[in-house]
C-alpha cells in the first residue's frame, strides 16, 4: 500500500517523535513542578525561557542548535568527545530539534494539571506517615496523569509536524533526517511529483487524526479511573 520511501519517512517520523517526547518527559515534569510549586527568584525568567520556542521562528531554533550543538561548538564537541554522541546531520539531531520545539507544550500541560492537584490530599497523605517522595509518587503524579498524557500527545503531534528547526539543524537526508514533512517538501520541490506529495499529505492527516483519537481515548480512560466510576 505504502511505497518503501513513504514507509521510511513515516517510521522515521514516529521514531524521532517518540524519542523526543520520552526524553523530554522527566525534565518536563521537573520543570513543570518547579513552575507550579516552586518559589524562587528568576521564576518568571525561567517560565519565559521555557516558552520561548513557542514564539521563536523554528528556523532560529535550528540555527541556535547548529551553533550550540554542532561538533565544532563547545557543547556539541564536548558531548562527542566524552560520549561519542553526535547530533549534527543525524536522526538524534532531528529528535533534539523536535524536543526543543515541543517542550513548552509539554511543560504547559503538565503544569496546569499539577496546579489543579488538590494540595489537601497531599496534606492528608503526609498525616498518614508518607514522606515527600512517596506523596509525590503515589498522590501528586497519579493525579497529574491526565495532564501528562495530554502534554505527551500534544508534544508528540508537534514533533510529527516539525519542519523548520529540523531542516536548519540536521538538513534533509533520506533515511536519516527526512521525516514526513521534509519528504513532502522534497516532492513539492520536485517538478511532476504532485501525486507523491498528495499521498504523503493523506498519510500525515491519517497519522495526526489517529494521534488525536488516541489521546481522546486515553484522557477518557484516565478521567474515569480518577473519578473511580466502576
Amino acid at each position: 500500500m505504502l511505497s518503501e520511501y513513504e514507509w521510511q519517512a513515516l517510521i522515521l517520523s514516529l521514531k524521532i517523535s517518540s524519542v523526543a517526547v520520552l526524553w523530554s518527559l522527566p525534565p518536563g515534569i521537573l520543570l513543570a513542578w518547579l513552575l507550579a510549586r516552586g518559589r524562587f527568584p528568576g521564576k518568571a525568567l525561567l517560565d519565559s525561557l521555557i516558552h520561548l520556542p513557542l514564539v521563536l521562528p523554528p528556523v532560529v531554533i535550528g540555527y541556535l542548535l547548529l551553533i550550540g550543538m554542532g561538533r565544532q561548538s563547545m557543547i556539541g564537541g564536548w558531548l562527542y568527545e566524552s560520549f561519542g554522541l553526535s547530533f549534527s546531520f543525524s536522526w538524534r539531531g532531528a529528535a533534539l530539534a523536535s524536543a526543543v520545539v515541543a517542550f513548552p507544550l509539554l511543560v504547559r500541560a503538565i503544569r496546569l494539571s499539577l496546579e489543579a492537584v488538590d494540595r489537601r490530599l497531599e496534606e492528608a497523605a503526609h498525616t498518614l506517615g508518607a514522606g515527600r517522595l512517596r506523596v509525590f509518587a503515589t498522590i501528586t503524579l497519579p493525579l497529574t496523569l491526565p495532564g501528562i498524557l495530554a502534554g505527551t500527545v500534544l508534544a508528540f503531534a508537534r514533533c510529527l509536524g516539525e519542519f523548520g528547526a529540523t531542516i536548519t539543524f540536521v538538513s534533509n537526508i533520506p533515511g536519516e533526517t527526512r521525516t514526513l514533512p521534509l519528504a513532502m517538501f522534497s516532492f513539492i520541490e520536485t517538478p511532476g511529483a504532485e501525486a507523491e506529495a498528495a499521498r504523503l499529505c493523506v498519510i500525515a492527516i491519517v497519522v495526526s487524526l489517529a494521534a488525536l483519537l488516541f489521546s481522546e481515548w486515553l484522557a477518557r480512560l484516565t478521567r474515569r479511573r480518577l473519578e473511580g466510576a466502576c
Binding site: H126, A130, G131, L143, E227, G228
Partner: protein, 365 residues
C-alpha cells in the same frame, strides 16, 4: 499528656494558647467558627507551623521554636480526620485504608472494618460513597496508620441530619472501644456532650476555659455559649437500685441524694452521665408534700444571674458536690426573696439520658 503553649498570628486571628490535655479519652475543642479550632489542630498535626512556643506529646517534643524543632506531619504519628474526608480519588476504599498502614496487621484491619462497618465498601471507589460512608473510611484510614493521637476536625459538620444520625453511633463506639486519645473539634455542644470527657473552650484565639467536661459545662463562664433554653448541666451519677414495678432506676448524686430516672438496664455501682436542663428545674422554699415530681433535692444557692432579656434569672444551685443551673422568672425570684447562700429545694422535672450515652461512657470513670 499533650501540652500546647504557642503563639500564632494567622490572618486577623491572633492566637495565644496554653492547653494541657489528658493522654486518654476524648477531648473536645469547642468554639464558634473563626475561633481558631482548625488552626490549632493543624499546628498539632504539623501542617501549620506556630510562630513561637512549644508542643509536646508525652515526653516527645513535636515543636519548639527556641530549639528550632519542627517535626514534619509524617514524623509525628498523629492521625487526622478532616472535615471533608479527603479520600484519595484514585485509590479504592481498601487502597485508602491501607495507605497509611506501616505494617499489615490483618487482625487490626479486620477490627477497624468491623468497628466502622465498612466491610461491604472495600472495593468501591470513594466517589461512589455517601458523605457518612466517606467519613467512616477516613476514620478507618487514620486509625490504621497506628497513630498515637487522633485529631478529628468536625467530622459531622459537612453532613446532613440523616447522615449525622448515621455516623454518630460509630463515633460513640469509637470513643468507647479505641484506646487512643482523641481530639474532637466541634461547634456543636450536642456532639461534645455525647462524646467528650474533657472540654477546651476556644474563643478568638484564646482558650479561657478547659477541664473535665462536667466542670466546664456547669461553670459560669460557659453560660454565654448556651442559648437560654439550652442551658443545662452535666452530672455523673452512680446506679443504686432498680424498681421493676414502676420501671424506674434509682441513681445517686452522693450521700442521701437519690435521683429517679426511667428504667435503665445497668448494674448497681455503674457510672452514668446525665444532663439536666435549666428549664427543667424549679425552686421551692419548702419541700412540697403531695407532688407529682419525684426528684426534690436540697440545694444551696451559689449564684444569681439575671438574664439579658430581663425576665429570667439563672440560678446556680449546689447539690452535694454538684453544680446545676435553674431557670426561674425574675418575678418568682423576687417573690421568693432568693439570695446567695439560701437553702432551698430543687424540683427536677426532666433528666435526659440516652442509651448510646451510657454505652459510650460505660466502664470509664
Amino acid at each position: 499528656m499533650l501540652s500546647i503553649c504557642i503563639k500564632k498570628r494567622q490572618g486577623d486571628l491572633d492566637m495565644e494558647l496554653d492547653i494541657q490535655l489528658p493522654a486518654q479519652g476524648i477531648s473536645a475543642i469547642f468554639g464558634r467558627s473563626g475561633a481558631g479550632k482548625t488552626s490549632l489542630i493543624n499546628m498539632i498535626s504539623g501542617l501549620v507551623r506556630p510562630d513561637q512556643g512549644q508542643i509536646a506529646l508525652g515526653d516527645e517534643v513535636l515543636f519548639d521554636s527556641r530549639r528550632n524543632i519542627h517535626l514534619r506531619p509524617e514524623q509525628r504519628r498523629i492521625g487526622y480526620v478532616f472535615q471533608d474526608a479527603r479520600l484519595f480519588p484514585h485509590y479504592s476504599v481498601e487502597g485508602n485504608l491501607r495507605y497509611g498502614s506501616r505494617k499489615t496487621n490483618p487482625k487490626q484491619f479486620a477490627d477497624v472494618i468491623e468497628l466502622l462497618g465498612i466491610g461491604p465498601l472495600l472495593l468501591r471507589a470513594p466517589s461512589t460513597l455517601s458523605g457518612g460512608e466517606r467519613q467512616r473510611v477516613a476514620i478507618g484510614r487514620a486509625l490504621l496508620s497506628q497513630p498515637r493521637l487522633l485529631l478529628m476536625d468536625e467530622p459531622l459538620a459537612s453532613l446532613d441530619m440523616p447522615r449525622k444520625r448515621e455516623l454518630m453511633p460509630y463515633l460513640e463506639r469509637l470513643a468507647a472501644e479505641v484506646q487512643l486519645p482523641i481530639l474532637y473539634v466541634s461547634h456543636s455542644l450536642d456532639e461534645v456532650l455525647r462524646l467528650a470527657d474533657h472540654l477546651v473552650l476556644l474563643d478568638k484565639g484564646r482558650a479561657p476555659l478547659q477541664g473535665p467536661l462536667e466542670e466546664v459545662w456547669g461553670s459560669a463562664q460557659m453560660r454565654p455559649w448556651f442559648a437560654a433554653e439550652d442551658l443545662s448541666c452535666v452530672l455523673n451519677a452512680r446506679v443504686l437500685s432498680q424498681e421493676p414495678k414502676w420501671q424506674m432506676t434509682q441513681l445517686s448524686l452522693g450521700e442521701d441524694l437519690p435521683l429517679w430516672v426511667r428504667s435503665i438496664e445497668m448494674p448497681a455501682g455503674q457510672q452514668v452521665r446525665l444532663r439536666i436542663r435549666a428549664n427543667d428545674i424549679s425552686i421551692v422554699r419548702t419541700r412540697a408534700q403531695h407532688s407529682s415530681i419525684r426528684n426534690v433535692l436540697p440545694a444551696r444557692i451559689e449564684a444569681l444571674e439575671p438574664d439579658e432579656s430581663g425576665h429570667q434569672m439563672a440560678v446556680q444551685l449546689c447539690i452535694g458536690s454538684h453544680r446545676l443551673w435553674a431557670h426561674i422568672t425574675l418575678w418568682a425570684a423576687s417573690e421568693l426573696g432568693l439570695s446567695v447562700g439560701d437553702e432551698v429545694f430543687a424540683q427536677i422535672k426532666g433528666i435526659s439520658l440516652n442509651q448510646t450515652d451510657w454505652a459510650a461512657h460505660g466502664g470509664r470513670p
